[in-house]
């Protein structure tokens, strides 16, 4: 059996959702094991075991959470040399990709980033990656030993199998000079309402809204529907709303039950992050916008008039 490792990110001392998603994939590919580094690692091991990790390597040194990438890369390097896994899966997330990049450069193996899926083939691994900004997909055979692949969040569904992991304490092999990029403070900007990743309904706004002053229209509709509010890259780059709201290639990948795209043209950059939504509704004044060719319902019209009316209609319906 191939030995598949998952770099299990921790979030406030618990296994992050991406870690559980990666384990579901790892189980399919061979014997799944996880590496959890940082405060809470030992506690998270039980959850990782339930999701299929047979062994969880843990160390709770606070340096893993306080410094960017280097302490984790140091420790992983030592563990990889000791245990020789066949494949290491990382999430394509802000933190994990930096650890993976440093590790792959150090091991000289390279890696495959931004993957949508990975499968076993001919004793090796083949990862599927978006190409041309998502218009095409390419199948890449991983040549590295170990193979290192970064999987986009929400590519795989997490599921419990009810196992129990053997927890193995490992040393924190942190180099003298690796405590360099020091995280001094963490600020949360995400709207306190519904989290994008967990939302059953998402309403996203783009340039077609005209300006940041019109985003409250979406917030009102989201309030009525119990939905989360997202945005396209264009409006985040323009500074209308914070990056934490960005959906797309460089933002979050979401797959809600209903996705309402308001004033978003549907550039590949955006659609790669939301096209797995169950139902897509688009409101746009341009009938020729690419989003209209992928929406289950496209409404051609003025979003600034339609959205407030829709909010009223939803409220009236819910009030009954």
């Amino acid at each position: 059996m191939a030995r598949i490792w998952v770099y299990a990110e921790l979030n406030e001392g618990k296994a992050a959702p991406i870690a559980l998603e990666l384990l579901a994939k790892a189980r399919d590919l061979g014997d799944a094991e996880a590496v959890a580094l940082g405060p809470g690692a030992a506690g998270a091991a039980a959850d990782l075991g339930k999701h299929g990790a047979k062994v969880v390597y843990v160390n709770e040194d606070p340096a893993f959470a306080e410094y960017i990438a280097e302490p984790a890369a140091d420790t992983l390097e030592a563990l990889v040399k000791q245990h020789s896994p066949d494949l290491i899966l990382f999430g394509f997330t802000t933190d994990a990709r930096e650890v993976a990049g440093r590790l792959a450069a150090r091991l000289g193996t390279g890696l495959i980033s931004n993957s949508l899926d990975i499968n076993a083939k001919d004793g090796g691994f083949v990862a599927r990656v978006p190409y041309f900004g998502g218009a095409k997909v390419a199948d890449y055979k991983a040549n590295g030993k170990p193979a290192i692949v970064l999987l986009r969040p929400k590519s795989v569904e997490a599921s419990e199998v009810g196992g129990e992991a053997k927890v193995e304490q490992v040393p924190a092999t942190i180099g003298e000079r690796s405590k360099r990029a020091h995280i001094l403070e963490r600020k949360v900007e995400a709207a306190d309402a519904v989290k994008l990743e967990d939302a059953a309904v998402i309403i996203s706004g783009g340039r077609g809204l005209g300006g940041p002053e019109n985003f409250p229209l979406l917030e009102a509709l989201a309030g009525a529907l119990g939905a989360a509010v997202g945005a396209s890259r264009a409006v985040v780059d323009a500074g209308w709303v914070p990056y934490s709201m960005q959906v797309g290639q460089t933002g979050k990948t979401v797959r809600p039950g209903v996705y309402i795209a308001v004033g978003i043209s549907g550039a590949m950059q955006h659609t790669v992050g939301m096209k797995a939504s169950k139902v897509i509704i688009a409101i746009n004044k341009d009938a020729e916008a690419p989003i209209m060719k992928m929406a289950d319902l496209g409404v051609v019209g003025d979003a600034l008039k339609i959205v407030p009316k829709l909010t009223e209609a939803v409220k009236a319906k819910k009030g009954k």
């Binding site: 199948d139 059953a200 496209g298 409404v299």
Partner: protein
């Protein structure tokens, strides 16, 4: 303070694209300076203006990548280095990072600035690999950069907000779009750029052996697409009615 900004040319995001026979992205099409790189150049110039020093722009790519460097020199960078080699066509992230590192190392910069990820590949892997190979700490996805003496502090964009992160120079910083509004090159800048030095290096000059690529492309296919559904022209009421019907069918209301 010596600042190196990495840039590359990418297929014009607004133009039709094609593939070469070996499935690498065709580079004979219209190319432009990666839009994300303009922010890096601007931030580099701002740091230079505030703290003095020199901005060196570095680029990997075909000979015409010189145009990308010229653009940066017109904006105000002092020198350019172009690494170009037949063997770099279709290079993976690690080979790119190795070539970059070999070219940058002799410059001993205080700050290396990269975009967070490119517009074409979007893998975001060159910066952490480059930081590793140059033995630099990485201050990444910065939406704000401050330099005070040898201390560099950034606001690092994260999935749910930002972090304040600090390191001593030398450092590698990756910047996000929107960190600073890229300036236009002035006529004077364009004229001055013609006299600025652009050094050209190949893999042999850098002492780099190409090595094995991290991946082999087995196939390239069209991505799955969704089918278009119903499109209605709103007349003041039908739009809302149709949306309500879809929301009810989806059991959202």
């Amino acid at each position: 303070m010596k600042i190196v900004v990495t840039v590359k040319q990418v297929p014009d995001p607004n133009a039709a694209q094609g593939l070469e026979a070996d499935n690498t992205i065709a580079r004979d099409r219209e190319v432009v300076l990666d839009p994300g790189d303009e922010y890096g150049i601007e931030e580099g110039l701002l740091l230079k203006e505030a703290h003095g020093g020199e901005v060196v722009r570095w680029s990997r790519g075909p000979e015409r990548a010189r145009d990308a460097i010229r653009k940066g020199l017109s904006m105000g960078a002092d020198r350019g280095i172009l690494v170009t080699d037949e063997q770099l066509s279709g290079a993976d992230a690690l080979l790119t990072a190795r070539a970059l590192a070999a070219a940058i190392k002799p410059e001993s910069p205080d700050v290396v600035i990269c975009a967070t990820e490119s517009y074409d590949g979007s893998t975001g892997m060159v910066p952490p690999m480059l930081a590793e190979l140059l033995d630099l700490p990485q201050l990444t996805t910065a939406k704000q950069v401050e330099v005070s003496g040898s201390k560099v502090t950034i606001h690092r964009q994260t999935e749910d907000g930002y972090q304040v992160v600090e390191a001593e120079t030398p450092v590698l910083v990756t910047v996000t779009a929107g960190i600073a509004e890229p300036r236009y090159a002035s006529l004077k800048g364009i004229m001055a750029a013609r006299a600025k030095e652009v050094k050209q290096l190949g893999l042999a000059d850098l002492g780099i052996d190409k090595g094995e690529p991290a991946e082999t492309v087995l196939a390239v296919n069209d991505a799955e697409t969704r089918k278009a559904g119903e499109v209605v022209e709103d007349d003041g009421t039908v739009g809302v009615e149709k949306i309500m019907a879809v929301l009810q069918a989806a059991k959202v209301i």
